[in-house]
Symmetry: C2
Subunit: 456 residues, 2 copies
Amino acid sequence: MAARNNFMLDESRVPKAWYNINADMPVAREPVLHPGTMKPVTPDFLSVMFPMSILQQEMSAERWVEIPEPVREAYRLWRPTPLIRAVRLEKALDTPAHIYFKYEGVSPVGSHKPNTAVAQVFFNKEAGSKALVTETGAGQWGSAMAMACAFYDMPCEIFMVKCSFDQKPYRRMIIENYGATVYSSPTVRTYAGRAERERNPDSDGVLGLAISEAMETVATSGGLKKYAPGSCLNYVLMHQTVIGIEALEQMEMAGEYPDMVIGCAGGGSSFGGIAYPFVHRNLTQGKKTRIIAVEPASCPSMTKGRYAFDYADLACSGPIVKMHTLGHSFIPPGIHAGGMRYHGMAPSVSALVHNGDIEARAVGELETFAAAVQFARTQGIIPAPESAHAIRVAIDEALECKRRGEKKVIVFNLTGHGHFDMEAYDDYHNGRIHETELSDTDLQAALAQLPLVPSE
Amino acid sequence: MAARNNFMLDESRVPKAWYNINADMPVAREPVLHPGTMKPVTPDFLSVMFPMSILQQEMSAERWVEIPEPVREAYRLWRPTPLIRAVRLEKALDTPAHIYFKYEGVSPVGSHKPNTAVAQVFFNKEAGSKALVTETGAGQWGSAMAMACAFYDMPCEIFMVKCSFDQKPYRRMIIENYGATVYSSPTVRTYAGRAERERNPDSDGVLGLAISEAMETVATSGGLKKYAPGSCLNYVLMHQTVIGIEALEQMEMAGEYPDMVIGCAGGGSSFGGIAYPFVHRNLTQGKKTRIIAVEPASCPSMTKGRYAFDYADLACSGPIVKMHTLGHSFIPPGIHAGGMRYHGMAPSVSALVHNGDIEARAVGELETFAAAVQFARTQGIIPAPESAHAIRVAIDEALECKRRGEKKVIVFNLTGHGHFDMEAYDDYHNGRIHETELSDTDLQAALAQLPLVPSE
C-alpha cells in the first residue's frame, strides 16, 4: 500500500475544548486601556460591545475552555479539516524536508473564519443579543459571519468597505445569499460615516472607518446589538485553536513532530489558531518547534513596527492595546492579500514575538505569488494570497533543508482557497504586481505617532 | 457521543477500480455512426481523437477497470470526498426522511470534473500524446483539465466560448494560472472559427463551435495532439464512478441503504458517477433503489426530447450516437446552470432512461434556486446551480415523505460549490431570473431535425 499523505480525522475528533494561551504566557499580561482616559478599562466599557460570556473568555486564564456541543455540531459541518503531506511539492523542490499543510479552505466559505464566527454567534444567541454587527474588508470575515448568523437565525449587519463592495461583488453576494444585510461604508447611517462623506464625497472607505461605523451602530442600539470582531482579540485566537489541536493529533497519525510551524499573520487569528497548541508544548513540555509568523514586507508590523500601546482602530474610539504596530493611522499599500493590511498585530502574538517565543518574517508580494503558483501547479489547490505568505516561507525553509541536507518536518497553515482572488493571480501573471516594500521615510513617519503612553 | 453525520473514508479507500455499466446494460448497445457515411465507425475514425488505451476503455465490457496507481495518487489529493447527512436541512423541512449528500466540491477546482481529467491526462501521457485540446463553456471542465495537465506536465489548449471568456474571467484566470492556454472561441486559428467570424463578426460563440475548433485542432495536428471530452462518453462516466463507489461504502458506515439516489444530469457524467454503482446493485443484486436524473425544464432532453440517433456536436463533424436529444441545433435559453445546456444526454444514461431503469425529472430555474438558498442557509455550502437541481428533487422527495409519514433514505450528488456562480444568486435574489420553460412550438421546431436515420 502507498504511504499515507492525507490525514483525516473522524468527526468525533472535533476538539472538545479550545486552548487558551493566557494560561501559559511567559510574560505578564498588559492591560487594555480606555481611549479617553488612557487608564485600564472597566468591564462596563467592553460590555457595550460584547456579552458577558465572551468577555469572560477574553479575560480567562483557564488553559482549556470547553466548546459547547452546539458549536461542535456546527464545526462538524466541515471539521475536522484535512492535514495533507505535500509530497508533490516536496518532489518539485527536490528537498529532504517533509512538508505538511493544514487545509482550512474546505469550510463552506473557503477559509478559517467560521471557526470563531459560529462560536461568537452561538454565545451571543445564548446571551439574548438581538443582532450582530461587524465590518469586513475583502469580505472573508463578512461571509463567515453571514453564514454563522443564518445557522442561528440571528440578524446580521455588515459594513463593507466601499471599494471592496464595488470591486469584489462576489463576496457581497455571498453575504446577501446567507440573508445578512450589507452596507457600503461610509454610509449615511452613522455619524462617523456621514462625517467622512461630508469630508470626502468620493470616499472609497477604509477598514478603520467600517469598524467605527459598526461600533457606533452597536453603541447606539440600546444594548440590543453586539459587535463581533474577526481577529486580534484573545478569545478570537482561542476559537481558532481547533486548527492546531487537530493538527497535533494528525501529526501523531503521521508519526512525526514538526520542527517548524508556519502561519501567515494579518491580525493574528489563524496564526494563533495553528501555532498556539504547538507553543503550548514548547512552553510546558520542552518541545523546541520553531514557530514562524509571516507578514507582508509592505505591512511589516512585527519585523519593522514598534511594540507599544496603540489604538486598535483608525478612528481611535476603540480600546488601546499593547502590540506590534506601525501606528494606528498607517495605511498600507494596496496589496492583494487584503487580510494582511492591518497596522497592528494581536497582543498575544506580539508579546510572544517580543519575548522570543515566536519568530517573525516578512516576505515580498512577487515571491509570495511565485510560491502560490508553484503550490497550485503541484498540489492542485489555489491558495488565498494571505495563505501564500506561509507557503513562501515553507518553501524557503524546505530549500534550506536541501542545501544543508537536513530532513526537517515543516507544517504550515493553508487558511483558505483563492477562488475569490483570481484577479490577483491574473495581475501577477501579467506583470501588474510591483513590489511595494515600505520606504524608511514612510515607516518613520508612521511610527512618529508613537508612543501614546509617554512612559514607554 | 453525538450521532455521526459526516462519513469520511481514509485515503486507502480511494477505489481501486472504476465500475463499467457496459457489463450490466440490460439492453443491447447501439453503434456509434460516422457523420459522413451514417455507418458504424471504425476505430481509425476515433483514434485520431483518442489514444488506443482510452478507446479500449470506451469499448470495454469488463465490469471493473483497474485504476492505475498514479491516478489514485492524484485522486488522493482530494479523495475520498465526504458523504454528509444533511441533518440541519432535515430539521428545517421537518421531514422523517434521512437526506445524505456526496460532496465533490472539495476538489481543488471545486467540482467533480477532475475525476476524469486526471485519468484522461494520465492515459494520454502514457500513450505519448504531446498536447491535449478541449473546449469549455462556463469553465468548470477547462479548469479541471488545466489542473490535470499541470500535474503531468502536459501542454493544454482550451477553446473557451467567447461570452464566458468575456463575462466569467475568473474561470479563464484559473485555467491560465495552472499554465494552460485559453482561446476565446471563435478564433482565427481554425477553419471553423474563421468561417463563423466571417459569417458573424460579433459572434459570442457557442459550445458546439468550441468543440468543432478543438476537434479541428486535433485532426490537423499530425497525430501529436489529442482530444479530451468532459462528459457523455462511456469512459468519462466510468471515471466518475469513484463517486458512487465511495458513497456505497459510506452508506454502509451510516448503516443505511438509499431508497433514492438523485443527481443532476447535463451531459450525464456526474450523474453516471453517483448512480451507476447503485444501478449495478439494482440490476445484479435485486436492490430497488429509485435512481432519479434531474434536468432543467428549459433543456429537457430526457423528459421531452426524443430517443434517437443524433450528432453529438453542433457542427455535425463528430460521431452520431443514439441518445435522448432535443436536436443537435437546439440552442437552450441562457439559464445559469451552464453545465446543463446540452442538447443531448450520455448514450448509456439515455438507454437506461428509455428502458425504465432510471427516472428522469425536469425542474424549473426559480424553484431550483429556492432549494439552493435553503440548503446554503442550513448546511452552509453554497451549491453550484447545476448541483442545485438535485437538491430541488431531494427536498421535494423529503417533503413527500413528510406528507406520507415515510422515513425514506435519500442520497444526492452535490457536484460542486457555487463560489464562481454568485452572480446567478444575485440575479435570483433581485428578481432577475424568469422561468424559461420551453414552448411546445420551439420544442417541435427543434425536434423536426430528427430522425437522421430514416429507419427510426
